[in-house]
Symmetry: C2
Amino acid sequence: MRLAELSERSGVSTATIKYYLREGLLPPGRRVNATTADYDEEHLRRLRLVRALIQVGGIPVARAREVLSHIDDDSLGRTIRLGAALWALPQDPEPDEEDPDVVAARAEVDRLLETLGWETSREMAPLSPVHRSLVVAVAALRRLGYPWDAELMAPYARLMHQVASRQLDFMETYDSLKEQVEMAVASAVLFEPVLRALHRLAQEEESARRYGIE
Amino acid sequence: MRLAELSERSGVSTATIKYYLREGLLPPGRRVNATTADYDEEHLRRLRLVRALIQVGGIPVARAREVLSHIDDDSLGRTIRLGAALWALPQDPEPDEEDPDVVAARAEVDRLLETLGWETSREMAPLSPVHRSLVVAVAALRRLGYPWDAELMAPYARLMHQVASRQLDFMETYDSLKEQVEMAVASAVLFEPVLRALHRLAQEEESARRYGIE
DNA sequence: AACCCTAGGATAGTCTCGCTATCCCATGAA
DNA sequence: TTCATGGGATAGCGAGACTATCCTAGGGTT
Protein backbone atom coordinates (compact mmCIF):
# COMPACT_ATOMS: atom_id res chain seq x y z
CA MET A 1 0.00 0.00 0.00
CA ARG A 2 1.07 3.59 -0.47
CA LEU A 3 1.54 6.25 2.14
CA ALA A 4 -1.95 7.64 1.58
CA GLU A 5 -3.53 4.27 2.25
CA LEU A 6 -1.35 3.66 5.29
CA SER A 7 -2.57 7.00 6.59
CA GLU A 8 -6.16 6.12 5.77
CA ARG A 9 -6.10 2.74 7.51
CA SER A 10 -4.22 3.90 10.59
CA GLY A 11 -5.99 7.18 11.07
CA VAL A 12 -2.63 8.96 11.24
CA SER A 13 -2.04 11.93 8.91
CA THR A 14 0.51 11.55 6.12
CA ALA A 15 2.47 14.46 7.57
CA THR A 16 2.78 12.64 10.88
CA ILE A 17 3.73 9.37 9.21
CA LYS A 18 6.46 11.21 7.32
CA TYR A 19 7.61 12.62 10.64
CA TYR A 20 7.81 9.13 12.16
CA LEU A 21 9.73 7.90 9.12
CA ARG A 22 12.17 10.77 9.55
CA GLU A 23 12.55 10.02 13.23
CA GLY A 24 13.20 6.37 12.51
CA LEU A 25 10.14 5.06 14.38
CA LEU A 26 8.88 3.43 11.24
CA PRO A 27 11.12 1.62 8.74
CA PRO A 28 11.02 3.11 5.23
CA GLY A 29 8.74 1.49 2.69
CA ARG A 30 10.04 -0.57 -0.18
CA ARG A 31 10.92 1.84 -2.93
CA VAL A 32 8.99 1.12 -6.10
CA ASN A 33 10.55 3.97 -8.03
CA ALA A 34 11.95 7.40 -7.37
CA THR A 35 8.63 8.85 -6.24
CA THR A 36 6.72 5.91 -4.77
CA ALA A 37 7.21 3.58 -1.84
CA ASP A 38 5.23 0.54 -0.85
CA TYR A 39 4.14 -0.30 2.72
CA ASP A 40 2.79 -3.59 4.01
CA GLU A 41 0.74 -4.91 6.94
CA GLU A 42 3.83 -4.99 9.11
CA HIS A 43 4.20 -1.24 8.67
CA LEU A 44 0.60 -0.75 9.67
CA ARG A 45 1.07 -2.85 12.77
CA ARG A 46 4.23 -1.01 13.72
CA LEU A 47 2.53 2.31 13.18
CA ARG A 48 -0.27 1.33 15.53
CA LEU A 49 2.28 0.28 18.14
CA VAL A 50 4.08 3.60 17.76
CA ARG A 51 0.85 5.54 18.21
CA ALA A 52 -0.05 3.47 21.26
CA LEU A 53 3.36 4.01 22.86
CA ILE A 54 3.26 7.75 22.24
CA GLN A 55 -0.39 8.58 22.75
CA VAL A 56 -1.55 6.10 25.38
CA GLY A 57 1.78 5.42 27.03
CA GLY A 58 3.01 8.99 26.82
CA ILE A 59 6.49 7.83 25.79
CA PRO A 60 8.56 10.59 24.13
CA VAL A 61 9.41 9.98 20.50
CA ALA A 62 13.13 9.56 21.19
CA ARG A 63 12.47 6.88 23.85
CA ALA A 64 10.04 5.10 21.58
CA ARG A 65 12.71 4.84 18.90
CA GLU A 66 15.11 3.28 21.37
CA VAL A 67 12.55 0.80 22.68
CA LEU A 68 11.57 -0.24 19.17
CA SER A 69 15.19 -0.77 18.18
CA HIS A 70 15.49 -3.36 20.94
CA ILE A 71 12.33 -5.11 19.82
CA ASP A 72 13.89 -5.40 16.38
CA ASP A 73 17.31 -6.58 17.50
CA ASP A 74 17.42 -10.27 16.67
CA SER A 75 20.92 -10.72 18.01
CA LEU A 76 19.98 -10.72 21.71
CA GLY A 77 18.61 -13.44 23.97
CA ARG A 78 15.14 -13.32 25.40
CA THR A 79 15.81 -11.92 28.86
CA ILE A 80 18.31 -9.39 27.58
CA ARG A 81 16.11 -8.33 24.73
CA LEU A 82 13.13 -7.98 27.01
CA GLY A 83 15.23 -6.24 29.63
CA ALA A 84 16.74 -3.89 27.09
CA ALA A 85 13.32 -2.83 25.88
CA LEU A 86 12.10 -2.29 29.43
CA TRP A 87 15.29 -0.50 30.41
CA ALA A 88 14.79 1.97 27.61
CA LEU A 89 11.37 3.00 28.93
CA PRO A 90 11.97 5.09 32.05
CA GLN A 91 12.89 8.72 31.81
CA ASP A 92 13.56 9.89 35.34
CA PRO A 93 16.44 12.28 35.88
CA GLU A 94 19.39 11.14 37.99
CA PRO A 95 18.47 11.35 41.65
CA ASP A 96 20.58 13.57 43.88
CA GLU A 97 22.61 11.06 45.90
CA GLU A 98 23.34 13.71 48.53
CA ASP A 99 19.68 14.00 49.39
CA PRO A 100 18.97 12.10 52.61
CA ASP A 101 15.56 11.02 51.34
CA VAL A 102 17.21 9.45 48.31
CA VAL A 103 19.76 7.68 50.49
CA ALA A 104 17.03 6.36 52.78
CA ALA A 105 14.89 5.33 49.83
CA ARG A 106 17.78 3.42 48.27
CA ALA A 107 18.42 1.60 51.53
CA GLU A 108 14.78 0.61 51.83
CA VAL A 109 14.60 -0.58 48.25
CA ASP A 110 17.69 -2.71 48.83
CA ARG A 111 16.11 -4.17 51.96
CA LEU A 112 12.94 -4.83 50.01
CA LEU A 113 14.75 -6.82 47.33
CA GLU A 114 16.53 -8.78 50.02
CA THR A 115 13.27 -9.51 51.83
CA LEU A 116 11.69 -10.69 48.61
CA GLY A 117 14.68 -12.70 47.53
CA TRP A 118 14.76 -11.00 44.13
CA GLU A 119 18.36 -11.90 43.44
CA THR A 120 18.52 -10.85 39.81
CA SER A 121 17.15 -7.44 40.61
CA ARG A 122 19.68 -7.04 43.40
CA GLU A 123 22.53 -7.85 41.05
CA MET A 124 21.23 -5.47 38.42
CA ALA A 125 20.42 -2.74 40.95
CA PRO A 126 23.33 -0.38 40.32
CA LEU A 127 22.59 -0.29 36.59
CA SER A 128 18.86 -0.71 36.26
CA PRO A 129 16.84 2.38 35.33
CA VAL A 130 13.76 0.67 36.73
CA HIS A 131 15.50 0.36 40.07
CA ARG A 132 16.39 4.02 39.88
CA SER A 133 12.78 4.96 39.13
CA LEU A 134 11.71 3.08 42.22
CA VAL A 135 14.25 4.91 44.36
CA VAL A 136 13.16 8.28 42.98
CA ALA A 137 9.48 7.56 43.60
CA VAL A 138 10.03 6.25 47.12
CA ALA A 139 12.24 9.24 47.91
CA ALA A 140 9.47 11.58 46.75
CA LEU A 141 6.98 9.87 49.05
CA ARG A 142 9.37 10.00 51.99
CA ARG A 143 10.05 13.67 51.33
CA LEU A 144 6.35 14.29 51.83
CA GLY A 145 6.52 12.49 55.13
CA TYR A 146 5.07 9.12 54.15
CA PRO A 147 7.12 6.42 55.83
CA TRP A 148 7.49 3.99 52.95
CA ASP A 149 9.85 1.24 53.98
CA ALA A 150 10.61 -2.31 52.94
CA GLU A 151 7.89 -3.80 55.16
CA LEU A 152 5.20 -1.55 53.70
CA MET A 153 6.29 -2.17 50.14
CA ALA A 154 6.74 -5.93 50.30
CA PRO A 155 3.04 -6.87 50.04
CA TYR A 156 2.63 -4.55 47.07
CA ALA A 157 5.72 -6.03 45.45
CA ARG A 158 4.28 -9.51 45.90
CA LEU A 159 1.01 -8.42 44.34
CA MET A 160 2.84 -6.88 41.39
CA HIS A 161 4.84 -10.04 41.06
CA GLN A 162 1.58 -11.95 40.68
CA VAL A 163 0.56 -9.48 38.00
CA ALA A 164 3.88 -9.88 36.17
CA SER A 165 3.67 -13.64 36.43
CA ARG A 166 0.25 -13.69 34.84
CA GLN A 167 1.49 -11.51 32.04
CA LEU A 168 4.43 -13.74 31.31
CA ASP A 169 2.06 -16.73 31.22
CA PHE A 170 0.09 -14.83 28.66
CA MET A 171 3.24 -13.83 26.78
CA GLU A 172 4.16 -17.48 26.41
CA THR A 173 1.07 -18.08 24.31
CA TYR A 174 2.85 -16.20 21.51
CA ASP A 175 5.17 -18.13 19.27
CA SER A 176 7.89 -15.85 18.00
CA LEU A 177 10.35 -14.13 20.27
CA LYS A 178 9.71 -10.85 18.50
CA GLU A 179 6.00 -11.07 19.19
CA GLN A 180 6.76 -11.95 22.79
CA VAL A 181 9.04 -8.98 23.29
CA GLU A 182 6.54 -6.71 21.60
CA MET A 183 3.84 -8.08 23.88
CA ALA A 184 6.04 -7.46 26.92
CA VAL A 185 6.59 -3.85 25.88
CA ALA A 186 2.91 -3.39 25.15
CA SER A 187 2.28 -4.81 28.61
CA ALA A 188 4.68 -2.46 30.26
CA VAL A 189 3.48 0.61 28.43
CA LEU A 190 -0.15 0.01 27.67
CA PHE A 191 -1.13 -2.36 30.40
CA GLU A 192 0.12 0.10 32.98
CA PRO A 193 -2.61 2.62 32.17
CA VAL A 194 -5.08 -0.24 32.59
CA LEU A 195 -3.62 -1.13 35.98
CA ARG A 196 -3.60 2.51 37.00
CA ALA A 197 -7.21 2.96 36.01
CA LEU A 198 -8.20 -0.25 37.80
CA HIS A 199 -6.33 0.99 40.84
CA ARG A 200 -8.15 4.30 40.88
CA LEU A 201 -11.50 2.68 40.23
CA ALA A 202 -10.86 0.27 43.09
CA GLN A 203 -9.93 3.18 45.32
CA GLU A 204 -13.19 4.94 44.51
CA GLU A 205 -15.21 1.78 44.92
CA GLU A 206 -13.67 0.82 48.25
CA SER A 207 -13.95 4.38 49.53
CA ALA A 208 -17.64 4.46 48.67
CA ARG A 209 -18.14 1.11 50.40
CA ARG A 210 -16.42 2.20 53.58
CA TYR A 211 -17.73 5.68 53.93
CA GLY A 212 -20.80 5.83 51.69
CA ILE A 213 -21.43 8.69 49.31
CA GLU A 214 -22.27 11.13 52.13
CA MET B 1 10.23 32.75 56.17
CA ARG B 2 10.77 34.81 53.06
CA LEU B 3 10.67 33.69 49.46
CA ALA B 4 14.43 33.24 49.36
CA GLU B 5 14.38 30.90 52.34
CA LEU B 6 11.41 28.95 50.96
CA SER B 7 13.42 28.52 47.80
CA GLU B 8 16.48 27.47 49.79
CA ARG B 9 14.67 24.89 51.88
CA SER B 10 12.65 23.39 49.03
CA GLY B 11 15.36 23.42 46.41
CA VAL B 12 13.01 25.21 44.00
CA SER B 13 14.22 28.43 42.38
CA THR B 14 12.56 31.70 43.37
CA ALA B 15 11.55 32.24 39.75
CA THR B 16 9.70 28.93 39.73
CA ILE B 17 8.04 29.61 43.08
CA LYS B 18 6.84 32.92 41.72
CA TYR B 19 5.48 31.05 38.72
CA TYR B 20 3.57 28.65 40.98
CA LEU B 21 2.20 31.57 42.99
CA ARG B 22 1.03 33.17 39.78
CA GLU B 23 -0.57 29.93 38.63
CA GLY B 24 -2.35 29.52 41.95
CA LEU B 25 -0.64 26.27 42.94
CA LEU B 26 0.70 27.90 46.06
CA PRO B 27 -1.34 30.29 48.23
CA PRO B 28 0.25 33.74 48.55
CA GLY B 29 2.32 34.47 51.63
CA ARG B 30 1.20 36.78 54.41
CA ARG B 31 2.08 40.27 53.33
CA VAL B 32 4.38 41.94 55.84
CA ASN B 33 4.64 45.15 53.89
CA ALA B 34 4.52 46.32 50.31
CA THR B 35 7.68 44.51 49.31
CA THR B 36 7.85 41.50 51.64
CA ALA B 37 5.73 38.42 52.20
CA ASP B 38 6.03 35.76 54.85
CA TYR B 39 5.73 32.00 54.22
CA ASP B 40 5.30 29.23 56.78
CA GLU B 41 5.83 25.47 57.10
CA GLU B 42 2.49 24.83 55.45
CA HIS B 43 3.72 26.63 52.34
CA LEU B 44 6.84 24.50 52.32
CA ARG B 45 4.78 21.34 52.61
CA ARG B 46 2.45 22.41 49.84
CA LEU B 47 5.39 23.32 47.63
CA ARG B 48 6.87 19.87 48.09
CA LEU B 49 3.52 18.30 47.18
CA VAL B 50 3.30 20.47 44.07
CA ARG B 51 6.80 19.48 42.98
CA ALA B 52 6.01 15.82 43.58
CA LEU B 53 2.79 16.00 41.57
CA ILE B 54 4.47 17.76 38.67
CA GLN B 55 7.90 16.15 38.60
CA VAL B 56 7.30 12.62 39.82
CA GLY B 57 3.67 12.30 38.83
CA GLY B 58 4.01 14.19 35.58
CA ILE B 59 0.74 16.06 36.21
CA PRO B 60 0.39 19.23 34.13
CA VAL B 61 0.33 22.45 36.11
CA ALA B 62 -3.30 23.19 35.24
CA ARG B 63 -4.41 19.74 36.48
CA ALA B 64 -2.39 20.11 39.63
CA ARG B 65 -4.17 23.36 40.44
CA GLU B 66 -7.52 21.66 40.05
CA VAL B 67 -6.53 18.68 42.18
CA LEU B 68 -5.18 20.91 44.93
CA SER B 69 -8.34 23.00 44.96
CA HIS B 70 -10.31 19.86 45.83
CA ILE B 71 -7.90 18.97 48.61
CA ASP B 72 -8.53 22.41 50.05
CA ASP B 73 -12.28 22.40 49.72
CA ASP B 74 -13.64 21.87 53.22
CA SER B 75 -17.26 21.98 52.13
CA LEU B 76 -17.38 18.47 50.65
CA GLY B 77 -17.82 15.03 52.22
CA ARG B 78 -15.06 12.47 52.34
CA THR B 79 -15.97 10.30 49.36
CA ILE B 80 -16.87 13.27 47.20
CA ARG B 81 -13.76 15.17 48.16
CA LEU B 82 -11.58 12.17 47.51
CA GLY B 83 -13.43 11.38 44.32
CA ALA B 84 -13.19 14.95 43.11
CA ALA B 85 -9.45 14.98 43.62
CA LEU B 86 -9.05 11.67 41.80
CA TRP B 87 -11.42 12.73 39.06
CA ALA B 88 -9.30 15.76 38.36
CA LEU B 89 -6.22 13.65 37.71
CA PRO B 90 -6.71 11.97 34.33
CA GLN B 91 -6.07 13.80 31.13
CA ASP B 92 -7.08 11.46 28.34
CA PRO B 93 -8.81 12.95 25.35
CA GLU B 94 -12.39 11.91 24.61
CA PRO B 95 -12.38 8.50 22.93
CA ASP B 96 -13.94 8.22 19.49
CA GLU B 97 -17.20 6.40 20.20
CA GLU B 98 -17.46 5.40 16.54
CA ASP B 99 -14.31 3.31 16.80
CA PRO B 100 -15.24 -0.38 17.08
CA ASP B 101 -12.31 -0.99 19.45
CA VAL B 102 -13.64 1.68 21.78
CA VAL B 103 -17.14 0.21 21.63
CA ALA B 104 -15.82 -3.28 22.38
CA ALA B 105 -13.59 -1.97 25.15
CA ARG B 106 -16.51 -0.17 26.78
CA ALA B 107 -18.62 -3.32 26.65
CA GLU B 108 -15.83 -5.35 28.26
CA VAL B 109 -15.26 -2.79 30.98
CA ASP B 110 -18.97 -2.82 31.76
CA ARG B 111 -18.94 -6.60 31.95
CA LEU B 112 -15.89 -6.41 34.20
CA LEU B 113 -17.61 -4.11 36.68
CA GLU B 114 -20.63 -6.38 36.68
CA THR B 115 -18.49 -9.46 37.28
CA LEU B 116 -16.74 -7.75 40.15
CA GLY B 117 -19.90 -6.36 41.65
CA TRP B 118 -18.47 -2.85 41.74
CA GLU B 119 -21.84 -1.17 41.94
CA THR B 120 -20.68 2.34 42.68
CA SER B 121 -18.33 2.31 39.74
CA ARG B 122 -21.11 1.08 37.48
CA GLU B 123 -23.36 3.90 38.55
CA MET B 124 -20.62 6.47 38.07
CA ALA B 125 -19.46 4.97 34.79
CA PRO B 126 -20.95 7.47 32.35
CA LEU B 127 -19.35 10.36 34.19
CA SER B 128 -16.12 9.05 35.61
CA PRO B 129 -12.89 10.12 33.90
CA VAL B 130 -11.19 7.12 35.48
CA HIS B 131 -13.66 4.84 33.78
CA ARG B 132 -12.97 6.64 30.51
CA SER B 133 -9.22 6.19 30.95
CA LEU B 134 -9.77 2.48 31.38
CA VAL B 135 -11.83 2.29 28.22
CA VAL B 136 -9.21 4.21 26.25
CA ALA B 137 -6.38 2.00 27.47
CA VAL B 138 -8.25 -1.25 26.83
CA ALA B 139 -9.23 -0.01 23.38
CA ALA B 140 -5.56 0.69 22.59
CA LEU B 141 -4.60 -2.84 23.60
CA ARG B 142 -7.40 -4.37 21.55
CA ARG B 143 -6.39 -2.26 18.55
CA LEU B 144 -2.98 -3.91 18.71
CA GLY B 145 -4.67 -7.28 18.67
CA TYR B 146 -4.46 -8.18 22.35
CA PRO B 147 -7.77 -9.72 23.36
CA TRP B 148 -8.34 -8.00 26.69
CA ASP B 149 -11.76 -8.93 27.95
CA ALA B 150 -13.56 -8.96 31.28
CA GLU B 151 -12.31 -12.44 32.19
CA LEU B 152 -8.69 -11.48 31.60
CA MET B 153 -9.00 -8.23 33.52
CA ALA B 154 -10.92 -9.50 36.54
CA PRO B 155 -7.94 -11.05 38.36
CA TYR B 156 -5.92 -7.88 37.85
CA ALA B 157 -8.82 -5.80 39.10
CA ARG B 158 -9.03 -7.96 42.24
CA LEU B 159 -5.32 -7.53 42.82
CA MET B 160 -5.61 -3.77 42.42
CA HIS B 161 -8.55 -3.82 44.78
CA GLN B 162 -6.32 -5.43 47.38
CA VAL B 163 -3.77 -2.69 46.78
CA ALA B 164 -6.41 0.03 47.14
CA SER B 165 -7.77 -1.58 50.27
CA ARG B 166 -4.35 -1.57 51.91
CA GLN B 167 -3.91 2.04 51.03
CA LEU B 168 -7.23 3.05 52.55
CA ASP B 169 -6.27 1.15 55.72
CA PHE B 170 -3.14 3.22 55.78
CA MET B 171 -5.06 6.40 55.02
CA GLU B 172 -7.22 5.80 58.07
CA THR B 173 -4.20 6.17 60.31
CA TYR B 174 -4.33 9.91 59.57
CA ASP B 175 -6.58 12.06 61.67
CA SER B 176 -7.76 15.02 59.67
CA LEU B 177 -9.83 14.65 56.54
CA LYS B 178 -7.52 17.04 54.74
CA GLU B 179 -4.50 14.90 55.53
CA GLN B 180 -6.43 11.84 54.41
CA VAL B 181 -7.40 13.38 51.09
CA GLU B 182 -3.86 14.60 50.55
CA MET B 183 -2.59 11.12 51.33
CA ALA B 184 -5.07 9.63 48.86
CA VAL B 185 -3.89 11.98 46.13
CA ALA B 186 -0.26 11.29 46.98
CA SER B 187 -1.13 7.61 46.74
CA ALA B 188 -2.76 7.99 43.39
CA VAL B 189 -0.03 10.12 41.90
CA LEU B 190 3.16 9.13 43.66
CA PHE B 191 2.39 5.60 44.65
CA GLU B 192 1.62 4.76 41.06
CA PRO B 193 5.23 5.25 39.95
CA VAL B 194 6.19 2.93 42.81
CA LEU B 195 3.72 0.32 41.64
CA ARG B 196 4.85 0.72 38.06
CA ALA B 197 8.49 0.30 39.04
CA LEU B 198 7.66 -2.73 41.18
CA HIS B 199 5.73 -4.14 38.26
CA ARG B 200 8.64 -3.75 35.87
CA LEU B 201 11.13 -5.09 38.38
CA ALA B 202 8.91 -8.10 38.96
CA GLN B 203 8.68 -8.63 35.22
CA GLU B 204 12.47 -8.61 34.89
CA GLU B 205 12.90 -10.83 37.91
CA GLU B 206 10.34 -13.40 36.81
CA SER B 207 11.66 -13.37 33.25
CA ALA B 208 15.19 -14.05 34.49
CA ARG B 209 13.87 -16.87 36.67
CA ARG B 210 11.98 -18.52 33.86
CA TYR B 211 14.44 -18.13 31.04
CA GLY B 212 17.76 -17.38 32.73
CA ILE B 213 20.03 -14.61 31.58
CA GLU B 214 21.04 -16.48 28.41
C1' DA C 1 18.76 61.51 56.48
C1' DA C 2 20.91 59.51 52.52
C1' DC C 3 22.17 55.49 50.34
C1' DC C 4 22.13 51.32 48.24
C1' DC C 5 20.83 46.63 48.07
C1' DT C 6 17.40 43.29 47.65
C1' DA C 7 12.48 41.19 47.80
C1' DG C 8 8.82 40.77 45.13
C1' DG C 9 5.79 41.82 41.07
C1' DA C 10 5.13 42.08 36.00
C1' DT C 11 6.37 40.82 31.50
C1' DA C 12 8.43 38.78 27.87
C1' DG C 13 11.61 35.32 26.26
C1' DT C 14 13.36 30.51 25.89
C1' DC C 15 13.48 25.69 25.14
C1' DT C 16 11.57 21.29 24.13
C1' DC C 17 8.19 18.41 21.90
C1' DG C 18 5.17 16.74 18.73
C1' DC C 19 3.42 17.63 15.13
C1' DT C 20 1.82 20.37 10.68
C1' DA C 21 1.95 23.30 6.65
C1' DT C 22 4.49 24.66 2.61
C1' DC C 23 7.31 24.09 -1.12
C1' DC C 24 9.30 21.49 -4.66
C1' DC C 25 10.29 17.94 -7.96
C1' DA C 26 9.77 13.77 -10.46
C1' DT C 27 6.91 10.68 -12.13
C1' DG C 28 3.29 8.21 -14.46
C1' DA C 29 -1.58 8.03 -15.89
C1' DA C 30 -4.71 10.38 -19.29
C1' DT D 1 2.14 16.84 -23.39
C1' DT D 2 -0.21 17.84 -19.50
C1' DC D 3 -1.09 17.70 -14.90
C1' DA D 4 -2.45 15.75 -10.61
C1' DT D 5 -0.07 13.36 -6.92
C1' DG D 6 3.33 10.89 -3.95
C1' DG D 7 7.10 11.71 -1.40
C1' DG D 8 11.25 14.41 0.41
C1' DA D 9 13.03 18.58 2.67
C1' DT D 10 12.43 22.49 5.49
C1' DA D 11 10.43 25.74 8.28
C1' DG D 12 6.79 27.03 11.33
C1' DC D 13 3.41 26.48 15.08
C1' DG D 14 1.27 25.95 19.65
C1' DA D 15 1.39 24.18 24.18
C1' DG D 16 3.74 23.68 28.41
C1' DA D 17 7.02 24.71 31.96
C1' DC D 18 9.87 27.36 33.29
C1' DT D 19 13.46 31.49 33.34
C1' DA D 20 15.66 35.90 32.67
C1' DT D 21 15.01 40.82 32.80
C1' DC D 22 13.33 44.88 34.33
C1' DC D 23 11.26 47.81 37.70
C1' DT D 24 9.93 49.75 42.05
C1' DA D 25 9.49 50.29 46.85
C1' DG D 26 11.15 49.40 51.09
C1' DG D 27 14.28 48.77 54.90
C1' DG D 28 18.70 48.06 57.04
C1' DT D 29 23.17 50.50 57.51
C1' DT D 30 25.84 54.24 58.27
